[in-house]
Each structure stands twice: as C-alpha cells, then as structure tokens.
Symmetry: C2
DNA sequence: GAATTATATGGAACCGGTTCCAAGCAATGA
DNA sequence: TCATTGCTTGGAACCGGTTCCATATAATTC
C-alpha cells in the first residue's frame, strides 16, 4: 500500500509553499491563476486528497457529519423518520452517523460520549429524553441538539401531537357508536422514559370524559411493544366479563397483533370488534387498517432543518419547537359495534 | 462555552509531563501507581476527555467506525441486514456511519470519497457492486471492504443463494401442481447493477427446465420495486389470454401488491391464484404469505464478522466468501391450482 | 523616481494527541 | 564502591492540515 501523499508532497512537486497549496484547496482568493494551475496539476498527478482528520484538528473544524441517536432503529416508526432525515441530509454535504440504543445504559453512555468525542457537528435525538445534566453537558461542549418525538424545555424539539392522536382515535370510535373502548399500549413506565403511550392515553381519557364515558382501568393494557404481546393483551381483554367492542392500539404493529388475536377467536374485524392503530406504517394500507397517520417522514425532515438552523454559523438562530398534527385514516378495520 | 482542556492542561495540573498523561490514558504499563492516581485525579477534576481527532491524526489511528454503503436503506430487506450488522457492532467499540445511495451518481462519488476520507476503518457495501477500478482504489487506500448481497472476485463477500431461492420457490409451485407460473421482478437491467432478480430468474428457469416446463417470456414481468408497480404487473399478467395460476414475486412487498391486485379482481388467494414472495419480512407471517426466507439478519452478522477479521491487526486474515442458504416458508398464499 | 499600497507567496507555529529518545533514579551484582 | 540494569519520567518531534506573519514583487500615487 503506497503511502498517501501530504500537502507537503504537493507543495514540493508544484514548487510552491504549503500555505499556497492550502489556499488553493480552500479557494482562497489571493492565489494567482498561474500558481493555482500548477498546484492543481500537482494534486491531480499525485491523486492527492486532503485528510479530513488533519483538517478538522487544525481548523477546529466541522466534521460534516451529524449524529442520530435512536432506540430500536429498525422499528417502522423510526425507519420512517430516518427516511425523512436522510432525504434532507442527502441534499447536503453531511454524513450520517447512527447510534442505536437498545438499553438505558447505552443511552447514558452515548449521551456522555457523543458531545465530547466531536465525531459529529450536531445531534438529533429521537424519542429519548436527555436529563437536565445531559442538556448541560451538550451545552458545555457546544453540541447542537434537536429532539425528535420528545422534548425538553431547553432544547428545540419537533414532536407529533400524541394527545390529539389519542383523542382522534377515540372520537372516531365513539362516533361509530362504541362505548366500550380498550387501549393497548407500550408500558407507560419504561426505562427509556418514552412518553408517547402515556400522551395518547391522556388523549384517550380526555375524549372519553368529553363524551361522558367512564374510563375503565381494566380496559387499558400495557405490554412490551410488538405484535405477539399485543396478541396476548387482546386475548386478556376479550376474556373480560364485558369485553370491549373496539380496541385502540398505540401502534400499527400492535393493532395487527390485536386483529390476529380477534380472528383467531373466530371473530371478525370490524363486524364484531373494531381496531384502530397508530402510525400508518407501510403495510397499514395493504391490510386496510384504520389508523392515525403520523407525519414521520416530515418530522424527520423538520428535525434536520432545525438542526441546520443551529449549525448555520453565519446566522445561527434558535429554531422554534413545534408540534405536527396527526390525521385519522379511515380504512376497513373500524365500523359500528355489533347490535348488542 | 468553556474551552475544552487538553492533555497539557492535565499534565500541568498533575505536575507531570504530557507523555505520562498519554501513557495513563492508554494503559501503558510503565507508570507508577502513584503517578497514575495523580493523573487520574487531574483528569477527573477537569472532566477531561481526549480528542479522538487528535488521537487519530497522531496515531495514524483507527476511527473506530465502520461504514455501510447501502441503497434505499429503508426497504425492509435492508433494515433486516442492518439489524444484524448493528447487533454485532453494538458489542464492539465501533460506531456506524451510514451512507445511503439513491442514485448511481451518489454511488460513484461515495466509492471514490469514502476510502480516502478515512472517516471509517472498514466498509460494508450492500447490494452494490464496485467496479474493478473501485476495488483497486480501495486497495490503494488500504480500505478493508466486505460485500454483502453482491460479490466481486477480489473482495470477500457474503451472499445469499438467490439461484437456489428461485429454484425452491418454483419447485414448490410445481409440486403443488402448477404449470403456468409467472415471475415478477425488479428490472433486470438497472443502473445499480442489482443482480438478485436476475439470479432468481435463473433459478426459476432452471427449475422450470428441470420439470419440463417451457419458459414463457410473457410470464416474466419486470418493474420498479414496490407494491404498486407489482400490482400493475399482476393485472397485466392476469389479462393474458391464458393467465398464470401462480405468481412468484421477487420480494414480499411485490407479492403483497400481487395479492392486492388479484383480490381486487374478485379472485381468491390461493384458491384461484397462488402467490409466493421472497424475503420473509416482518408482516409476511401476519398476512400468511408463503415465501422464501432469506437469513438477512444473519448475513448482516456475518458481514461484520468478516470485516472484523480483516480489521484485526494482530492476526489479519482474509475471510472466506460464502453463500448462505434460503428456506421455503409455507404459509397460506399457495395451494394447488384450481381444477381447470 | 521615491514612497506607498496591494498582491502573492513561503514557512513557522499551531491544533491535541502519541511515540520515542534521553535521562534520572533505585536496585542489583561484582 | 562503581558499573549495570530496569523502571519511570519529561519533553521534543511528529501526524497533516490551517493560519498568520513576514517578505518579495508589482502596481499606484505624487
């Protein structure tokens, strides 16, 4: 393997000083056209490429990479956001460094190490909420951070209106005539501090109250994310003395599990039981799942835009935090309750 | 923002030389316990963290990151592989830099820039085939590369047996009694040089030949990847004077499109038409899709292991290229043809 | 034509680590 | 007691860029 050339090799070859080569590399105006050509020729001949590492060290410079910290990035909801993020990044000169989080320990260690490692110029944190101490550390190390699907008073954030999502889903079911409406969610109390299940529960309860329906704790079931767990929870619900006539699931994946369980019991969706999901993942359309559509792609796009606003050194501005709306997508898994 | 401390600050504070601090940082044995404690205390007090950039520059060192170049990384097939890759990486000290490719131009530019930028220590390229020139460049810059789902004579690769997959899918349909078997695939001739559709076609044709069934060009339809396109292609197939009784789709996503189209025509799957997919993506089990399971997760795992083998400086060894087997997963979308 | 200003260029110093060499010091051996 | 060995240690040189200062040359002004 041939040693790679340095700027000094280029300088020697072109018969100029290293400063001049550097100036050519950075399009500095004060280089005569003649010299510039000589230098460019030398660069070409040696197939020279400047080392970004050296560049960064000396110029205290940008890494031209942004980091994404996300839990379980293979879940459809995250893939959707990632897609939006990537779409914007692809237009820019930034690379993407992905930090996956599977355990709270990983989260803690990433929150500590990423800011001082300076491997990235900015950070988008998805669904994980940094502590006050974390936020202080980000600040101290001058690491710009945007939150996505979570929030913190001192950090810009892009969220999606979970409370309203819970409301809309519930309202839809109530309007169809349902009164016995169950809610299946992720564990409210979880090691990562995910809030979306709790917020949707809030919307669900608010809407029930608004409609004069009493909230029944036994109609709310929590369990780890995933189709199989939701399948079980649904079986539990259906085994109640007075089972629900409709189920609101906190994700499409869970809704699919619910539908599976219902069908396995020989019941039909929506004739016997209605099911509404959340997310509007790719297959939701295929299986005809009624759901709440989250603008996941768009939220990804917005988060990068916000980060770029922070990164813009000429004109750095604090991007506003805001909340994107959700949308009810009516398909074939919800309908009026069976005539009792 | 407080200036971050350097190793010299630590040295001064601990009353030692910079070399000693560096030795402590790197667990060099020749540091007395007493000095080590002094240095550690100083590091603690200043909340000092060494700069990985400086470290890399001086030590000519590792970046402790590996790069993944993948096209359309949000497709389920890629997510599955990524999951396997990430699982291994999470156990290691390596970070993951993701390069998404959406256009052939991006591919070309990435293949050029990644090796010399030295932002990563090694590279896993998924589904994209580097040219001979690219391979030479990788070599010249000493960038270790492992190919996943593609191959090149001079590079280690992990592939999945596409030809056999095509065979197995076709054999399954033939054994059920089908003779008129169509194949829906991605475009064989595509700007990225994806080969899997072509290889599966090969297997399909071989098996047809083996079973004494003539290959009919009009039974092979190509179109961009995606449910909707597959939907169309299926309509075309069904509009033939003698439509197929079974469809082999080159991906589950496309199989779903096919099923959708068939159902929309008022026909049933599998009673009227059988459909077999490819990949065994998450929802395949949910919708009961018969398919060819690709060990995507495992192939991801293997690719990282292979790369680590190349990266192991004590004992660098050229990992073997090999092919993983596929497996037929029989579910409910295939059955005997309707009695003609 | 001398003084002033603008333009182009070379190269030392620096960014924050690592490494290596030289040197100090204690322990060992003759 | 003195030479030898081994263990610690300090700090200069270096990695490959950028930046800034000093200088040389050309252009402008009076």
């Amino acid at each position: 393997m041939s040693r790679t050339y340095t700027i000094r090799d280029v300088a020697k070859r072109a018969g100029v000083g290293v400063g001049t080569v550097s100036r050519v590399l950075n399009d500095h105006p004060s280089v005569s056209e003649e010299t510039r050509q000589k230098v460019l020729a030398a660069i070409e001949e040696l197939d020279f490429h400047p080392s970004p590492v050296a560049r960064q060290l000396s110029a205290g410079g940008k890494t031209l990479a942004i980091g994404i910290i996300a839990p379980f990035f293979t879940r459809p909801a995250f893939v959707g956001r990632l897609e939006g993020i990537e779409a914007v990044l692809a237009q820019s000169e930034y690379d993407l460094v992905l930090y996956n989080v599977e355990t709270p320990e990983q989260q803690a260690s990433l929150f500590r190490k990423v800011p001082y490692e300076r491997r990235v110029d900015g950070l988008i944190i998805i669904s994980l909420t940094p502590s006050n101490e974390d936020v202080k550390r980000f600040e101290r190390y001058g690491m710009p951070v945007v939150l996505l699907d979570t929030s913190h008073p001192d950090l810009p954030s892009i969220t999606i209106d979970d409370v309203d999502g819970g409301k809309q889903a519930t309202r839809h079911l109530v309007e169809l005539g349902h009164r016995r409406i169950a809610y299946i969610s992720d564990p409210l109390d979880n090691p990562f501090g995910f809030r979306s299940s709790a917020l949707r529960l809030e919307g669900y309860r608010e809407m029930l109250a608004e409609c004069g329906i009493e909230f029944r704790p036994d109609y709310h079931r929590q369990g780890e994310h995933g189709r199989h767990v939701a399948h079980h929870l649904t079986q539990e619900l259906m085994a109640l003395p007075d089972p629900p006539t409709a189920i609101f699931a906190a994700s499409d994946t869970q809704a699919l599990g619910a539908i599976e369980a219902i069908r396995q019991m020989g019941l039909r969706v929506p004739e016997d039981i209605s099911v509404i999901g959340y997310d509007d993942i790719e297959v939701a359309a295929y299986v005809g799942l009624t759901t709440i559509r989250q603008p996941m792609y768009q939220s990804g796009v917005e988060s990068v835009k916000a980060l770029f606003q922070l990164l813009d050194e000429e004109n750095p501005s604090l991007p506003a935090s805001y909340t994107l709306p959700v949308q009810l997508i009516e398909r074939e898994t919800t309908g009026p309750p069976a005539a009792a």
